[in-house]
Structures are given as C-alpha cells and as structure tokens.
C-alpha cells in the first residue's frame, strides 16, 4: 500500500513541476465555464425555471460540473495514454507494482491539486455570482461529498479503459476526443440529463457516465434525496467495481498484445 501512496505523492510533485501548463489548462477550462454561464444566462432571461431547474440551481450546476470535470483532467489522462504509446509501459512491467493500481494512485495524487485549484476558482466564481447552493442538512451534504468522491472513481474507470484502447490504436488523441465528447454528453456535463428527450435520458441512466456528473449534482442540488440518493450512489459503486474488473480484464488482454517497439 505504501508504494502506491508514494506514487501518488510523486505524481503531485510531477504536477507541480508542470505548474504552468497545468494552470493554463485550468484557465482554459475556466473560460469555458464563463462561456457556459453567459449562454445559460441568456437562455434563462425571462424564465423562472427550465425542466425543473431555477437559474440559481443552474449556476450551482455549472460550478459543480466544473469541479467534477476538473478532476482527472487531460493532464492525468494523457499521462496514462503516453505511457502506452511511447512504450514506457515496459518500465512499469519491470517493477513489482500493478499497473492499474499505480495509475489510480497517480491520478488521485494529481486530483488533490486539481481539487484545490478548482475549489479556489469556484470560490472566486461563487463570490461574483449568486453563490453556490449547498445542501442544508448534514446528511445530504455528506451524501453529496461522498458521491463527488465516487464520481472520481467512476471517471477513472472510464478514462483507464479508454486509455488501454491505445494498445490497439497506437495513437491517443482521437480516443481522448471521443472519450471526452461521449462523457460530456452522457454524464450531463454539457446539458443536464433532465433536458434530454426521455429515451436518451433513460439510455444515459443505464450507462456509467451519469455517475460522473448527474449523480453528485442532483444530490447536491437536493433533486434526489434519501433512498433515491443512496440508490444513485449504489449505482456509482456498481459501476466502479464493474469498470475496475473490466480494466483488469482488458489489461491482461493488452499485455498479451504488447510487442514493444524496438525489441
């Protein structure tokens, strides 16, 4: 266990080494947030509510989505794909560590910094807007925070699986774009799932992506409560376990596949 903690710490250090590009990446995302904010503001003019969302809720929605999307950013994702593409995965195979656990540890390590930085930006944003609506009662707040943490693990599962696809494609960028757009759409990061036509909404609920944004956001906004919230978190964990096992299975297939260049 200690080795994975050390890997996580090292990954934090690594992220700090690239602080400039890390921060620029963040700023770019933040500008995206501002654009979304203006867009929704225009949509809400003259309206009190849209598909059950008030303008105040929508603002919180945007901020929470920004937070969740900032975790496991392009930065950690590309570090997994690059390992596979440039063949340095071999160096990992030489060590007594498990690839999947090591990648999780590293991703969580950079998540700490990503989390801190986004909290800072969100705090800043909240001051200038209506602020962020957080659950009033402690139980819901706890559920919200727990579902946020779980959403990172769901996202890791998806990111890891898509990164492993690089074993078969030898290029990572296309996979990254495909992964991002599918995730953004089906998680509710772009538009809340409640705005979808019902068939798309019910399809999205059957997939793991909704666990990334929809679950924490609806719990945080108090749209799902009590048993229903617990059920959504339960679904998140079913996906976390399933994606982890799928990742394990795919990895063992990939290892058989590798023919590291320059052998």
């Amino acid at each position: 266990m200690k080795k994975y903690v050390s890997l996580a710490l090292c990954s934090m250090q690594n992220t700090l080494a690239y602080r400039l590009s890390f921060i620029l990446n963040f700023v770019a995302n933040f500008i995206g947030l501002i654009a979304m904010y203006c867009l929704w503001q225009a949509i809400y003019t003259g309206r009190a509510e849209l598909s059950g969302f008030t303008w105040g809720q929508m603002q919180s929605y945007l901020l929470i989505t920004f937070f969740v999307n900032s975790m496991l950013s392009y930065y950690s994702e590309s570090s997994i794909t690059n390992k596979i593409i440039d063949g340095s995965v071999m160096m990992d195979l030489l060590r007594p560590i498990q690839f999947q656990k090591a990648r999780l540890a590293e991703s969580l390590g950079s998540c700490v910094l990503e989390g801190l930085l986004s909290c800072l930006l969100i705090g800043l944003a909240a001051v200038f807007t209506l602020g962020i609506q957080l659950p009033n009662d402690a139980a819901t707040l706890l559920l919200f925070l727990f579902s946020m943490a779980s959403s990172i693990l769901v996202k890791f599962g998806i990111v890891y699986l898509s990164a492993l696809l690089c074993f078969w494609t030898t290029s990572g960028f296309g996979i990254y774009w495909a992964r991002t757009s599918i995730t953004n759409l089906l998680s509710g990061a772009l538009v809340p799932l409640a705005f979808f036509p019902s068939w798309l909404q019910s399809t999205a609920m059957l997939l793991p992506f909704q666990g990334i944004v929809n679950t924490p956001v609806t719990i945080g906004l108090g749209m799902t409560e009590g048993i229903e919230a617990l059920r959504l978190i339960g679904i998140q964990w079913v996906w976390i376990v399933l994606l982890w096992l799928l990742g394990k299975w795919m990895w063992s297939g990939a290892v058989r596949q590798i023919t590291i260049h320059g052998g």
Partner: protein, 348 residues
C-alpha cells in the same frame, strides 16, 4: 537448479504487411494481412548464480527480446523459462522484486522529479529496508560519482549521468539478477570505466548475477568470462571467452625491433607453413619486422630463435586478434556456426 534456465524459448512477433503507397494504406484499412516474424527461436540457456555473461549478436538478433522475456515483460510464444524458480511472465510481481534491469535506451527514473526522489520512490516500491537503502545509497553515490546530480531531475541529466543513475536505480533493492541491455551505449570512456568498475564490484561483493547485452567489446573483455553469441534468434556460441579466442584467434603477429636489418628474412621461414613476413611500409630501413603465424602450427619461440640466429633482436611484442575481430567475423558469416558450436561444446 540453475538460476536462469530456458528451454526452446521462442518469440514470434506479428507484423502487419502493408502494401506500398496510399492505395496500400487504404487497402490495409479493410483487409489486414500479417506476417510472423520470429525474433527468438529455440534458445536454451543455463546461467548459474554469480555468473557474468555477455550476450552478444548483431542488431536484431533477438538479444533484447530474450532479456524482455527473462524479465517478464514479454510473454514467450513457446518454450520453457525459469528464473530463480519462477516463470517470469506468470509471476511477474515476484520476479520483478528479485531482478533489476537497465535498458540503455530508456530510463526508469521519473522525468520531472530529482534523482534522489526517484530513488526514494523506488525504495518504497521495492520495499527496501531503511538500513539497506542508506547503505546502498552511500555506496552507489560514491562508486558512481552521483553527488553532483542527485538533486537534478532526470530530464536535466547528461546521458552519462542518467545511465549511472539508472544503474543505481536498478541495483537499489539488491536484486539477485541484473539484466543490462547496452549499459554503455553512447558513453564516453571515463563513464564507461566507472560503470564497468561498478558492475564488477557488485558482482564480486554481492554475487549479483549479470547478463549483459552490448555492442561494446570492451565491456565483454572487461566484465565477462562467459560469452553467448546469438544470431537470427539462435545461439551460435556459448562458452568461455578464452576458448572462443583459442579456437578462432589462432593467428599471432610478432613485431620485432632489430639492431640491423636482416635481408631476405622470408627465406628463414620457408619450411614453416602459413608464416608471412610483413615489413612496415613507413620503415624502409627494415630494422623493424613483423611475422604473422598460426600458433598451432609453429611456436613463437621457433620464429624468434631463427631470427636471433641472424641478428640482434632489440625488442619484441606479440599481438593476438581482438575479440572484436572474431565477433565481426562471426557476424559476417566467415566463421561458420557449426565450428563455433563445436568450440563451445569442447569447453563444456
């Protein structure tokens, strides 16, 4: 049981066959054809604990592939493999704990954190006890001269520094076996020496078994008693370095400095087979003379004696062909592999 044992070890890579040009590339999108490329075919290896073995062969002979299979990174296509009683690709974690590896073309250090931190991280990964870590760090820092760059991140190191740091990283957890894949590639003479001394030291003091591939014949002569030559995925020689020299380096050259020229020195050796007299082109005074002969057909003393009868020999030295010369001839196919194998067996 030996420390490393393989029987009939094979590795076949699947290569995509693409037809030339755009049309070929488009065609490849729909129908993929593959060709099997055999990198290693049927390698039998037995390496005992504490040995230092040079594993040489031309580019693409299958050296790195063998090492990758031994270290558990590649899954063999066939044959048996046991390293310290383990099957590396099946018991990868246990095997990884006992081995160290340096791949000259890649680093195992973290690119963006100081070398010292990288080594600290490896300490945690390999669960090296604190006393061992401290002892090894102190020893390695001194032996490899790492003091100057421990605080730098790997990306800032020169090649020689990086290679030294990589060696330290590979040996930090006191592995039983170390695989060195071209550990001195592209290094200057001073660093090469340092690295060779370090490897020797580790082998002598800790009994670490070393298997190294190299194109640098200085590495082989300096470090290894045993030589394995492979070509096209097969072992063509396995035996003592000394014996391959005896078998194929039959030719000797005596260079002599004479007090006065000996005219028609050639006539002295007319009755001896395969003796040739070579006069250095720049020395027309002929007070120096070289004689080339086969040491199994006549002796050096016979040659020198005949010359001493005719004049005074001021100084002389004997040259033997370098291992480089021999291996070059093997690569070029001038020495056929059957006679090499015979030489190897003779030594066993």
């Amino acid at each position: 049981m030996s420390l490393i044992e393989t029987k009939g070890l094979r590795k076949v890579f699947r290569q995509a066959v693409k037809e030339p040009g755009l049309a070929g590339a488009v065609k490849h999108l729909f129908t993929q054809r593959y060709r099997d490329k055999s990198a290693v075919e049927g390698i039998d290896l037995t390496i005992e604990e504490g040995e230092t073995v040079a594993y040489v062969g031309p580019n693409g002979a299958g050296k790195s592939t063998t090492i990758k299979m031994l270290s558990g990174v590649l899954v063999p296509s066939g044959g048996e493999i046991r390293v310290d009683g383990l099957v590396p690709h099946k018991q990868r974690m246990e095997n990884a704990q006992r081995i160290g590896a340096v791949f000259g073309q890649r680093t195992q250090l973290w690119w963006d954190i100081p070398v010292r931190e990288s080594l600290g991280l490896l300490r945690d990964i390999y669960q090296v006890p604190p006393e061992t870590f401290k002892r090894n760090m102190d020893a390695f820092t001194e032996l490899l001269g790492m003091e100057d760059f421990l605080h730098l991140s790997a990306r800032k190191l020169s090649l020689g520094q990086r290679m030294r740091a990589d060696l330290a990283a590979a040996l930090l957890h006191d592995p039983k076996i170390v695989y060195l894949d071209e550990p001195t590639i592209g290094l200057d003479v001073a660093v090469k020496h340092r690295i060779r001394d370090f490897i020797k030291e580790m082998n002598r003091n800790k009994g670490t078994t070393m298997l190294l591939t190299t194109h640098d014949l200085g590495d082989i002569e300096d470090l290894c008693e045993r030589l394995i030559i492979i070509d096209q995925g097969r072992i063509i020689y396995d035996g003592k370095l000394r014996e391959v020299k005896d078998a194929f380096a039959r030719e000797r050259t005596i260079h002599m400095q004479l007090s006065s020229p000996i005219p028609e020195a050639e006539s002295l050796f007319r009755d001896l087979p395969d003796v040739r007299v070579v006069r250095p082109a720049e020395d027309q005074g002929a007070s120096s003379l070289s004689v080339r002969f086969d040491r199994f057909r006549c002796t050096a003393s016979d040659i020198v004696k005949r010359l001493m009868n005719r004049g005074e020999v001021v100084d002389f030295r004997i040259d033997e062909p370098s291992i480089e010369e021999i291996i070059r001839r093997v690569y070029e196919g001038q020495l056929d592999s059957e006679s090499l194998l015979l030489a190897g067996r003779g030594s066993a």
